[in-house]
């Protein structure tokens, strides 16, 4: 099981994952606000 705190590389991959998830969330919020 991957542990993001075990190495810098794994923590960096977790950061990339968080960036993608929050970028999608922000885009969705901006689109919903623009439509409504």
């Amino acid at each position: 099981m991957p542990n993001p705190l075990r190495s810098e590389g794994e923590m960096f991959r977790l950061l990339l994952y968080v960036i993608v998830v929050f970028a999608v969330l922000i885009a969705a919020i901006l689109i919903v606000r623009a439509i409504s």
């Binding site: 542990n3 075990r6 810098e8």
Partner: protein
């Protein structure tokens, strides 16, 4: 007791004739030495426990934030105030960039590239200083004070708590930068870069969450 534990440490058992060192390690059974995890090195275990405690601190501040916005139902941001969403987005990009340069420094020293280590760690430090400078500049020009209302208090508390973590990270990065220039770290021994790197990525992840909840939602 300690000596008995050390005798059972992986790789410290008797080597059988004709068996490579790796085979002897596979023959190890039983618990790890006392006061040690069998899975994580002590330095990394310390950082892991520290980051878990940090998440709980941020959790306490987020609880106050959600209490104001959800339980109280107060308007966010407070009436008559405005948060600089886009300037802070630029600042967010600066901080995220610093994680990439940190990763560059780490991968460079793993390959024995000392220039990459020094350039990466110095760039990370300068990007972190820039982030902190812009954050202070934002405080100076935002137009409200922490004591004005509950919303303002939690705004300064959450962003200030994160700013304190950036400051600690910059102190760690300054130490790593100086040690890099003095010729420390090798492809085999670079724990001093790895552990601050984990902390720095954690600070970046936490900022993404803070930015999203405070500035966007």
């Amino acid at each position: 007791m300690e000596a008995a534990s050390i005798a059972h440490a992986p790789g410290s058992g008797p080597r059988l004739p004709g068996h490579p060192a790796g085979a002897a390690e596979h023959e190890h059974h039983g618990p790890p030495p006392a006061h040690r995890s069998s899975r994580v090195d002590p330095q990394l275990l310390g950082m892991l426990l520290f980051i878990i405690s940090e998440i709980m601190i941020f959790g306490a501040f987020f609880t106050a934030y959600f209490f104001i916005r959800v339980a109280q139902g107060d308007q966010w941001p407070a009436p008559g105030t405005q948060l600089p969403v886009y300037p802070t987005l630029v600042n967010t990009c600066i901080l995220i960039s610093s994680s990439f340069t940190m990763h560059w420094a780490q991968t460079s020293i793993k390959k024995g590239n000392r220039f990459g280590l020094k350039a990466g760690i110095l760039t990370t430090f300068l990007l972190g200083v820039t982030f902190l400078f812009l954050q202070v500049n934002e405080y100076a020009n935002i137009g409200f004070a922490p004591q004005d209302a509950a919303q303002q208090t939690i705004f300064y508390s959450l962003t200030g708590l994160h700013g304190a973590h950036v400051t600690i990270g910059l102190i760690l990065l300054a130490i790593v930068t100086i040690r890099s220039w003095r010729g420390h770290y090798t492809p085999d021994e670079h724990r001093g870069v790895e552990v601050p790197g984990i902390y720095w990525h954690f600070v970046d992840i936490m900022w993404i969450v803070v930015y999203f909840t405070v500035y966007i939602v």
